[in-house]
């Protein structure tokens, strides 16, 4: 993908064509060689399968009262993970609750990355006054404790999945902006950017089509890790009771059983384990991508 690496050696007549591996393919090969990254990928696929196919296989309403409250796991085969303080099936909650957690986590991460890239790219590319204003804005957002700020935003507006996702996006884009800016500052000096300018490309094209694709590797790694952060945020907000109370999510399950921690460990630890496994899988993938896309860091 990096423009400078695509130049193949001139072929000598009769010699076998020189095989040049594309950087994407090389990164993918590196990724596949990384055991923990593959473990992460398998875990994540498992979580997604359970979340999206599980409700068809296990069609129990997570809000329905199915058994006596606070029944521990293993009492009856129909409630393998036991019931919560209202008598709702914990397994049904875990299976159905993943969808909201993953959906909010993913959309918040996309929003975070989009805001971060736009702010960082404009600041890094234009420099000067634009950079000054945008970086001051970034600094301003950095001093607001993210969860507290997200709590305020969700509390001011109605707590729906959309509000929660937007709130997470609004509070967490600053790191991506800084990273993007740093990449742009570095890349805009390179020859191929000068070349693009020399052939008359407009700024918009240079920013989005010339520099951004080359700035992507560290941004992809960061975006992967942001998905994990966004999932943790969503879980935190739902745990505090600041998400849509009509949509089951893992954080909501833990939060609603908060007063029954001692009486029903299963109702709080099992949904927590689901969050943990999901974030862990995303982090493992992020680490693997980091090794694959930034070979220089591999020794650390």
């Amino acid at each position: 993908m990096t423009g400078t690496e695509q130049v193949a050696a001139p072929e000598e007549p009769g010699a076998a064509p020189l095989k040049v591996e594309s950087p994407i393919r090389e990164a993918w090969r590196m990724f596949l060689r990384n055991g923990s990254a593959i473990a992460g990928l398998v875990l994540l696929i498992g979580v997604i399968l359970v979340t999206f196919i599980g409700p068809q296989v296990y069609p129990v309403d997570p809000f329905e009262i199915v058994w006596a409250p606070l029944t521990p796991p293993g009492v009856d085969a129909s409630i393998p993970f036991g019931t919560d303080y209202l008598g709702r099936d914990v397994l049904a909650g875990i299976i159905h609750g993943g969808r909201a957690t993953l959906a909010v986590g993913a959309s918040a991460a996309i929003l975070t990355v989009l805001i971060g890239i736009v702010v960082g790219a404009l600041a890094g590319f234009y420099g000067g006054f634009v950079d000054e204003i945008l970086m001051r804005l970034t600094e301003f957002f950095q001093v607001l404790p993210p969860l507290l700020f997200a709590m305020v935003l969700v509390a001011l507006f109605t707590p729906t999945l959309t509000t929660v996702a937007v709130a997470i996006g609004v509070v967490s884009w600053t790191q991506t902006a800084r990273l993007t800016r740093a990449e742009f500052l570095k890349l805009k000096q390179l020859e191929y950017v000068t070349a693009a300018r020399a052939i008359g490309s407009r700024n918009g094209r240079i920013i989005w089509r010339v520099i951004l694709p080359n700035a992507l590797p560290p941004l992809i790694v960061s975006a992967t890790l942001i998905i994990g952060v966004a999932i943790l945020f969503e879980a935190g907000l739902s745990f505090l009771g600041l998400s849509d109370p009509n949509v089951m999510s893992w954080g909501l399950m833990i939060g609603s059983s908060r007063s029954y921690i001692i009486d029903s460990w299963w109702a709080v630890t099992l949904p927590g384990a689901a969050i943990f496994i999901t974030v862990l899988s995303v982090s493992l993938i992020g680490d693997g991508l980091n090794d694959a896309l930034n070979p220089k860091l591999r020794e650390r």
């Binding site: 301003f140 001093v143 607001l144 404790p145 507290l148 935190g236 505090l240 927590g272 974030v279 982090s283």
Partner: protein
């Protein structure tokens, strides 16, 4: 005299940031759906038209927006962030009553995480491919991925059932009224689990960061020189390498204050720690906007001050940037 100029410049920036947070607070109050007067009236249990007009006049809600902003800023600068609807008390007083508990929790967690994390990272860096180093890497991933409230809940379960040696709720034992060393020890006893829960996420990050930073420094020429001089390994690692490797840790520690306060909200909720986090949650559930925005403001000020101190510490620790040549 240059350092004084830099400090003055930083203080100026900090003041601008504080002002900006106040403006944001004001705008958020007005962005909120519904008329603030109606919210206040609702909290009072309803009001007639005249009472509504009175409330509007009392809170300056009948003035144009920029005038209201001026009034708000003027009051805020005099230490008045409004009246809590929920507690019916001045917001600043409420917050100051809880601020100490949160700062105690945050600073203890951060100190624990930095000291132990750096130590583990340095030990891991000595054998980068050894078992200990791998354990650190795995632990840091686990610490990063576990939701902080979940870690807290597991600790509550473990320490309530299995090893009932630490209290799992509150900040002090009401049976131990009075002050003195007994009270300090009691608070410290209550602090163990919340501080550990909050610190453990960052512990993982610092161990990883200090491991990476140490590895980079240990490869530098001056370390080879130090070794060639025949210095003992402990002097090379402890004095020459650690001093340089600690810089990124200092920077990150200061920048993480915002995240720490966010984590504190969740940890305080789990352990019923009487700090800003539990106050914030109560305020939000009670739709007490002045209080919640006051907390946002105070937390932002804590972060601004922490950043300012980090910046100054950083300049003191690293002679290269003392002159202000770098950003």
């Amino acid at each position: 005299m240059k350092i004084a100029a830099i400090i003055a410049q930083r203080l100026f920036y900090a003041a601008i940031l504080i002002l900006a947070v106040l403006v944001l607070n004001f705008l958020l109050l007005h962005l909120a759906p519904g008329d603030p007067a109606e919210v206040i009236a609702g909290e009072m249990g309803g009001a007639t038209q005249e009472m509504m007009a009175e409330i509007r006049a009392a809170y300056g809600l009948d003035q144009p927006l920029h005038v209201q902003l001026g009034i708000y800023l003027g009051r805020a600068l005099q230490g008045d962030l409004g009246q809590s609807f929920f507690y019916n008390a001045p917001v600043v007083g409420l917050i100051l009553g809880r601020l100490g508990a949160t700062i105690l929790l945050v600073v203890t967690s951060l100190t624990f995480a930095v000291v132990i994390g750096t130590l583990l990272g340095v030990l891991a860096a000595r054998k980068p491919t050894g078992l200990f180093s791998n354990v650190i890497t795995v632990l840091s991933l686990v610490g990063y991925s576990a939701p902080v409230f979940w870690t807290g809940i597991i600790l509550v379960i473990v320490f309530a059932w299995v090893f009932p040696i630490f209290p799992i709720s509150g900040m002090s034992d009401i049976r131990l009224a009075g002050g003195g060393i007994e009270h300090v020890l009691d608070v410290a006893h209550h602090l163990v689990l919340p501080a550990f829960t909050l610190g453990v996420i960052y512990l993982a990050q610092y161990s990883r960061l200090s491991r990476a930073s140490m590895l980079e420094v240990l490869g530098a020429d001056y370390i080879r020189t130090a070794r060639a001089k025949g210095l003992s390994e402990s002097v090379v690692v402890g004095k020459h390498a650690l001093r340089n490797a600690i810089l990124p840790i200092v920077t990150i520690a200061g920048l993480q204050f915002g995240g720490l306060i966010s984590g504190a909200v969740l940890v305080e909720t789990v352990f019923s720690w009487p700090g800003l986090g539990t106050l914030a949650l109560d305020a939000i559930l009670g739709r007490d906007y002045p209080t919640i925005l006051g907390i946002l403001f105070f937390s932002a000020v804590i972060v601004i001050v922490a950043n300012l101190l980090t910046d100054l510490c950083y300049r003191l620790v690293d002679p290269r940037i003392r002159s202000g040549g770098h950003k």
